[in-house]
Amino acid sequence: MSAPLLEVDAVSRVYSRGSLLSRRSFAAVDGVSFRLESSRAEIFTVVGESGSGKTTLARMILGMVLPSAGAIRFKGRDLSTIHGRRARLEFMQKVQPVFQNPFEAFNPMKRVDRYLFATARRMTGLTDASAIAGATDGALGSVGLSLAEVRGRFPHELSGGQLQRVAIARALLCNPALLVADEPVSMIDASLRASIVNLLRDLRDRLAVSIIYITHDLATAYFISDRLLIMRRGQAVETGEARAVLDRPQHPYSQLLKASVLPPDVPSEPGARLKSEPMIRHGASHA
């Protein structure tokens, strides 16, 4: 039995604010645990409203923020023991991020292909220009683009969907074992969104990459994920097999979340689904 790919063990992250005299602390993530096995690639989805701690959790898994309590182990190694450039690079090669807004992830003044070449040079150890170009073209090929389409282009010359594909291709260049995708489709137009979601699913099946998919969109979560974790105010409220959880949510918050999704078809009477229920009306009235 090998070590699990990723083990998140009762992790918390506390932020404190205020001055020296009036210190107040606030747990962005509070005792969350889950594990991804290395034996099979899966899409593990984290769902929650804004402020539920999804992004803080992602940053901890990427090693950008250290947990205040608990531990995150990647292939058995505690992330807090990773020190030094070599160990850090090795970890980054295996765990790669995809961020929400591709236009913010890329420097607008820099050609997109330079990111790809720099990543290839640093992460795969290739030095020969044609080998780097070959590896880049291969990675772009797996997201449905080619180097010829991207070479010499600036971020604004690509559509949001294309740029998000380039961001995913950049992550794939290192042959990662785990992708952490923080809301990868929420900034992308509806007509292009489906293709990114399909791509993530395809990567899992074809390249056996495990993906932590962070979203607030239950419909795409249902469609691509194997397992699911629902977070609220830093805590995990429900977790399990994705379809089972979404078909029969147990926790009241999960039920509320599911009931709030507007189905994309026309109700028999206009506004029929918009009768406000008292629970919804007061559910968010806390400051």
Binding site: E49, S50, L158, S159, G160, G161, Q162, D189, A190, S191, L192, R193, A194, S195, I196, V197, N198, R201, H216, D217, L218, A219, T220, Y222, F223, R243, L246, D247, L256, L257, K258, S260, V261, L262, P263, P264, D265, V266, P267, P270, G271, R273, L274, K275, S276, I280, R281, G283, A284, S285, H286, A287
Partner: protein
């Protein structure tokens, strides 16, 4: 009341810049005609850079160069009086704004003054239209908040003390306190969570039915349109490509773009893959000849590359496509 509250005819609004002798023209709104009837919610859908925001800016006459209106007219009808919004003087415009024509904006944080109490925002926006002694106005504001199921004490709060959903509700209350005939809502729920979104939409629906005003509701989220809008217009690359009653549009989308938009909506419970649309929206500084959708269109033929299709059709379901699906007989 018989005529439409808002009639937009042949509107063209371009961004024109000229720097170092290089002229650039972005055709953000190109030949758009639509009308909004009294007591209805007209939904406007389209992806980013399809010209939705430019259209509502020109409709509200709230724009600055380089955006210019080149042709067309925007005429409001408030209680039998016609207002051609682009020929009004600044004073006349200020008189109808908020009283007859108001806004619900997306970034509710930017609408409410962060360093003043909510009460001050109400006074700034609405007091001069309602007039009378200040305590009476504040009473009216409190009653209005109560009618919208908000605590009247909100008036004494600062914006940062309220949650995002609450702030959005306050901006809705603010936009409706003068009981305007026409409300423009620009992506009011896009920044909100699903749970809060449903509550805010319910509130918009309720207040619209209570006041009998018309709403031009802009969002890219088709699921919201399905549940809220009475009629729906779909924009693509600066043009209106299809318009009709929301139910007709969803049951029988005639334009290939609309058909795709509706088919690609993810639905809770789906496990079959949805298809994305190949290609990207065109650059509006250099739009394709003919129909602007033809490079991505599965039905494109020769005529689509040469000629621009007009928005046409009977029984209120209009479509701009040479290869539109036949109208349903139902």
């Amino acid at each position: 009341m018989t005529g439409p509250v808002l009639a937009v005819a042949g509107l063209r609004a371009y961004y024109r810049t000229s720097a170092f002798g290089v002229r650039r023209e972005v055709r953000a709104v190109d030949d758009v005609s639509l009308s909004v009837e009294p007591n209805e919610i007209y939904g406007l859908a389209g992806e980013s850079s399809s010209g939705k925001t430019t259209l509502i800016k020109t409709i509200a006459n709230a724009f600055q160069p380089p955006l210019q209106v080149l042709a067309g007219s925007v005429v409001f009808d408030f209680a039998g009086k016609r207002f051609d919004i682009h020929s009004l003087a600044a004073r006349e415009l200020a008189a109808i704004r908020w009283k007859h024509l108001s806004y619900i904006m997306q970034g509710s944080m930017n609408v409410l003054n962060p360093v003043r109490r909510v009460r001050q925002s109400f006074i700034d926006f609405a007091f001069r239209h309602i007039g009378g002694p200040l305590p009476e106005f504040l009473d009216l504001a409190r009653k209005h908040l109560q009618r919208l199921h908000l605590e009247p004490q909100i008036l004494d709060a600062y914006p940062h003390q309220l949650s995002g959903g609450m702030r959005q509700r306050v901006t809705i209350a603010l936009a409706t306190v003068c009981q305007p005939q026409f409300i423009i809502a620009d992506e009011p729920t896009t920044a909100l969570d699903v749970v809060v979104q449903k509550g805010v939409l319910a509130m918009i629906h309720e207040v619209q039915r209570a006041l009998g005003s018309s709403i031009l509701f802009v969002t890219h989220d088709m699921a919201v349109h399905a549940n809220l809008s009475d009629r729906l217009g779909i924009m693509y690359a600066g043009r209106l490509v299809e318009e009709g009653r929301t139910a007709d549009l969803f049951r029988n989308p005639r334009h290939p773009y609309t058909a795709h938009l509706i088919a690609s909506l993810p639905q809770l419970g789906d496990s079959a893959p949805k298809q994305g649309l190949a290609g990207a929206p065109p650059n509006l500084a250099d739009p394709p000849e003919g129909c602007r959708f033809h490079p991505r269109c599965p039905r494109a033929s020769d005529i689509c590359r040469r000629e621009v299709p007009f928005l046409q059709g009977a029984s209120g379901h209009r479509v701009a496509c040479f290869h539109a699906t036949a109208e349903s007989v139902a």
